[in-house]
Structures are given as C-alpha cells and as structure tokens.
Symmetry: C2
DNA sequence: GCTTGAATTGATATATTATAACATTCTAGA
DNA sequence: TCTAGAATGTTATAATATATCAATTCAAGC
C-alpha cells in the first residue's frame, strides 16, 4: 500500500495540488462532523478560495473571489467566516502578511510556524518542537511564561533557491 | 567600577526607566554621529515618544502625542520618521501588534525576537542564537533558506506571572 | 407541520493602519 | 550666496479590520 510518504512541510512547485485540496476538504468535513459544526456554503466557498493555492490570501481578495463566484458579500462576511475557520484551526492568519492560509492538520490545537517564500509566495507550515522549546527555555531565563509564539520566517524555498530567486508560477 | 550588570532582556516593573531613556539617547546620538545622520527635532521627538515606555506604541498614537507637543503633523510624517528610525535599527516594528518599540542596541544590524506581556504590555527584546539556529536548521531540512525570521511571543512577564495576571501600571 | 430560540448571514457604517504624489523648506557644502 | 539633496509639509487615498442592528436560516422539540 502506497499511502502518504514522509511529509515534507513545504509544497513542491510541481506537486499534485488537487490532492492537497481533496485531502484538506476530507479533513475539514470529518472535523465538522465530529464537532457538530455547520459546513455552510459560505464557509465551504471561503475554504475553497483559500485552498486554491499555497500562497496566503488577503481578506479583500477572498471577498473579490466570492463576488466573482456570484455571491453577494461584504467585508464582514469574510472576516466572520475567517474567524470561524481560524477558531477551528482550518485556517491560520499570517500576521506579517495580513493574509490567511489553509491548515493541514486542523485536528490538533496548535499555532504553527511558517516558512514564507519571498519569491514564489508559497507558505509551508512547520510544527517543530525544537523551535518552541528554544523559545520557551530562553524566555524562561528571564521569567517569561510563553503563551502564544508567533514564528513567521521569510526566505527562499527549495525550488526558488535553485532558480536563484527567479522562479514563479504554480499552485 | 559599577558599570552595567548582566543584562536582563525584560525590563523589571520597578526599574530605573530614566536611565533606559538616557542610555537609549546616548546610543542614538553616537550612532547618528558615526553614520553622519541627521538627528532632527522630529526624529528626536518621535524617539522620545517611543521611549516613554517599554510598551509598543502605534503610529497614530505617536501622531497624537506629537500634536499634543504642539507640532503639526500628518500620518506621513510619522511613518516616514518610523521608516528612518527602523532603517537605522533604533526602532522595531512588532507586526503582531501593528506597533513600534525602541531598540536597545542599534549598533548591530539585527532583527530581534520579542517577548510581549499580555497583561502589562511591556516588551523585551531577545537576540538568542539558539532560537535562530533552531529555525534555520529546521527550515534547512526542507531546503528553505531563511532570510528574515519574525519571532513575537506573547505571554506573561516575570512580574505579571507573580501577580497571576492582575498586574498593571509602570513605565 | 409548526414554533421557537440560536446560529448564520446580510447590510450599513465606521475605525484603524499605511501609502502615493507633489509642494515646500531646510541644510550642508561648493 | 548658490544649489542639490535631504527632510518635512500637505492633501488625498488605499488597505485592513470592526461595530451594530436587521433579516434569514436551521435544528430541535412539540
Ligand atoms: Zn498543494
Ligand atoms: Zn496549522
Ligand atoms: Zn525602562
Ligand atoms: Zn533591537
């Protein structure tokens, strides 16, 4: 049985994105059922828009796409939906980008660390214990008790490093 | 000779803040001279306002205080000055707060890590090699090359942990 | 099926943060 | 003094996010 290979946290430029979307929605639907949440048309649409790529998308861009899709909507519509999706870990907000990105593993309560490629715009989510430990222990030396670490790292992804920062265009 | 004791990255609730301000301005003046920069009234005022406390302050709050001080100013005035101060490492922007904080050590080019107390609002800046190493090495396992890590950690500072999250009020 | 309260969405207005573009003033040096 | 570049003034606008109240939809119990 093939199954999923060892997971790479950063989506390759040539990966099968349809599979990402399918898996994301499978997980989402499961989560909604388990928790008795309502996967409404609006929520589904917003989630679809967000999962159209691995690039973070702004609230007003989501709004535009909703309108393109024939739905009438206002900023509040989007922000409310984003709040709901974030509460349920289906979406994360990248504070350094004022933008939103889909999450791979909404089952577990978490706050990921993010790698953001400056060239292609793609984001990968990490969940690395060592980073968190380093932050917690360093904070502890000054008596600081960590609650919500924000880690957002810009740089160049594997594919864009190879292209020496000239790469563009993929899901 | 007394000199400075081992530096604690998080300002104590009862520390001598006048000394912080004095030292910050000594460093700033030195930096301006060394680099042939112009420490204008506007820049000095903005830096003073930012150093009034160890809490981050928003651009529009800076604007208000400038006006209180009898200076006429517009948002652009503030943002331009902040840009200048940030270029010269005298000020950092906390992306998770949309707010700005004074920097302790403008001499060295750096991008700090920040501890932000949710109760008293005070911010301490770290510059911890272990955190950066953990981020770089983890990123490297997926071929990602780190350029600009953002680390902003909210939680409770030493003093506020002791008060169990009821503390308030100091510089 | 009908009722009802809660959840969801609609609609309008406004707050907050940040940038664009061009004009004027200041300042260091020739 | 003259002048070019730096700094600031001024006006307008973009981009992001929230507050508030009304209308609609939905699930559950009767
Ligand atoms: Zn994908
Ligand atoms: Zn996640
Ligand atoms: Zn101080
Ligand atoms: Zn600093």
């Amino acid at each position: 049985m093939p199954g999923k290979p060892i997971q790479d946290p950063f989506p390759d430029h040539a990966h099968d994105h349809d599979r990402c979307v399918k898996e994301a929605f499978d997980r989402a639907e499961k989560l909604f059922k388990q928790n008795g949440l309502r996967l409404t048309d609006l929520r589904r649409s917003v989630l679809e828009i967000i999962w159209q790529s691995h690039r973070p998308i702004g609230a007003y861009d989501i709004l535009d796409r909703l309108k393109d899709g024939g739905r009438r909507a206002a900023p509040m519509t989007v922000y409310r939906t984003l709040d709901f999706l974030m509460e349920n870990q289906l979406v994360h907000r990248l504070t350094s980008q004022n933008a939103y990105i889909g999450c791979d593993h909404p089952e577990e309560s978490h706050r990921g660390q993010f790698l953001i490629c400056r060239t292609c715009g793609v984001v990968g989510e990490l969940s690395d214990a060592r980073i968190i430990t380093a932050i917690k222990e360093t904070a502890a030396t000054t008596g600081f008790s960590v609650e919500a670490p924000v880690v957002e790292v810009t740089g160049l992804c594997r594919d864009c490093v190879e292209l020496d920062g000239a790469g563009r265009g993929h899901a």
